[in-house]
Amino acid sequence: MTDALPIDTGDTAWLLMSSALVLAMIVPGLALFYGGLVRSKNVLGTIMQTVVILCMMTLTWILWGYTLAFGPDHGGIIGGLEWVALNGVGLAPSPDYASTVPHQVFMFFQLMFAAITVALITGSFAERMKFKALILFALLWSTFIYSPLAHWVWGGGWLGKLGALDFAGGAVVHVSSGMAALVCALVLGVRKGYGVEPMPPHNLPMTLLGTGLLWFGWFGFNAGSALGANEIAGVAFLATHTAAAAGGVSWMMAEWMYRGQPTVLGVASGIIAGLATITPGAGYVGPVSALLIGLIAGALCYAAVVWKVRLGYDDSLDVVGIHGVGGIIGLLATGVLASIGAKGLLFGNPGQFGIQLLLVLTTALFALVGTYLILKVVDLMVGLRVSPQDEELGLDLSQHSERAYS
């Protein structure tokens, strides 16, 4: 290329801002959301997992994660190693991604997605994973699951070429972390005393604070995925907020009808379910479709977490029920309701639904099998669970020699 593409300052400003918004989703948003849901003896251990994942994923994304996901395509399967340590990822826009902003800014925005996806999984094995095991798991999972998936869908890989629609990460972020969470919950097993002793959240106002920060940051996550300060960012912004609100109302009503009382945690969970579910379609649907998607998300994700209790696996903070189920519903709904910039089944393009189904199945299968193998490797290397004594004592003291409240 002889002429560098011109940089649009508005687009660049919005993508920088959006990256910072997604950071707020991770720390402190997700950290507090999860931290409030565990027992007080595990709150620091839980927050620590998310914070350290953010730090570690920053290093690995710069060193090799970005090039595997977005580097020059090899057979639609994986990015090449040409951009290791951001070699060649400069300030000029890339012709392939966000062609109006500096390439490094696009890379940085994607870094936040890589970090939050791994952090989401930690909810499934909360209160019982060894810290050493967590670090190894995060390194392996982001390298062998996240980067390839991001490549398939967004980095010029085969699913993107097929026309699969995933605006901000319904498959890459939510289905992948949700399915990984299912495997983690099954392989690690239930917490000591699960189903016998009460394990109520220790601080729901903390969880609510996290919910608000996640909601706020999600504007960067979804509207930022327009990769510019443009109409599509506006579409995604409105859809994101509408689905969040609809999800909160829908979960509350479902719970009210089923259990007889609405709960604060129910509304918060519904908001997150709405946000996760609108993610893949945020830039492709209008406000009424977004409202519908949010309503479906709240009720179905509530049904999923009730069903989990009957099945007996301990996905402690409901990553499967909210992100896995929400992501699947959102991807399929996008195949039906997409009307802006792409067409879904209801808008004269029935084939899109099939492609979305393929996207869901491929992502789920890849994440399920890959996560299982990674867990087996980590188990062989350092063991996955803390000892029963350490679990009884809590992660804060046993893993970090600290207490949140004295």
């Binding site: 009460p198 959240p201 945690l265 969970s269 509530y302 069903w307 209790v309 029920g321």
Partner: protein, 112 residues
């Protein structure tokens, strides 16, 4: 002398304390405790899970009482701590062998 331990509903503490002070009681010890009687706790719901929380938060008041005041203290606590609904608590009365005021070395009723 008697030692009176009253387990009551937490929000009743101020009412009970004020009435006891009015009666001439000079001091008491208050502890936040958990327990259950016939009330048997309550249900809590978090997403799909329901927990039966058996140990309910209560306040325990301990008062050393001279024999002549015992009956009126009991009546006062019963009157002020009562709501009429299940979970109002209990009063336990036991013999108190001796009391010593650390500052002065006074003993028994003059130390209460």
């Amino acid at each position: 002398m008697k030692l009176l331990s009253a387990v009551i509903k937490p929000f009743k503490l101020d009412e009970v304390k004020d009435a006891l002070i009015e009666l001439g009681i000079q001091g008491m010890t208050v502890t936040e405790v958990k327990g259950f009687g016939r009330q048997k706790g309550h249900k809590e719901t978090y997403r799909g899970t329901e927990y039966q929380i058996e140990f309910v938060p209560k306040i325990k008041i301990e008062i050393a009482v001279p024999d002549n005041l015992l009956q009126s203290v009991i009546e006062t606590v019963v009157r002020t701590a009562k709501t009429g609904s299940i979970g109002d608590g209990k009063i336990f009365v036991s013999d108190l062998q001796s009391v010593i005021r650390i500052r002065t070395g006074e003993t028994n009723e003059s130390a209460i």
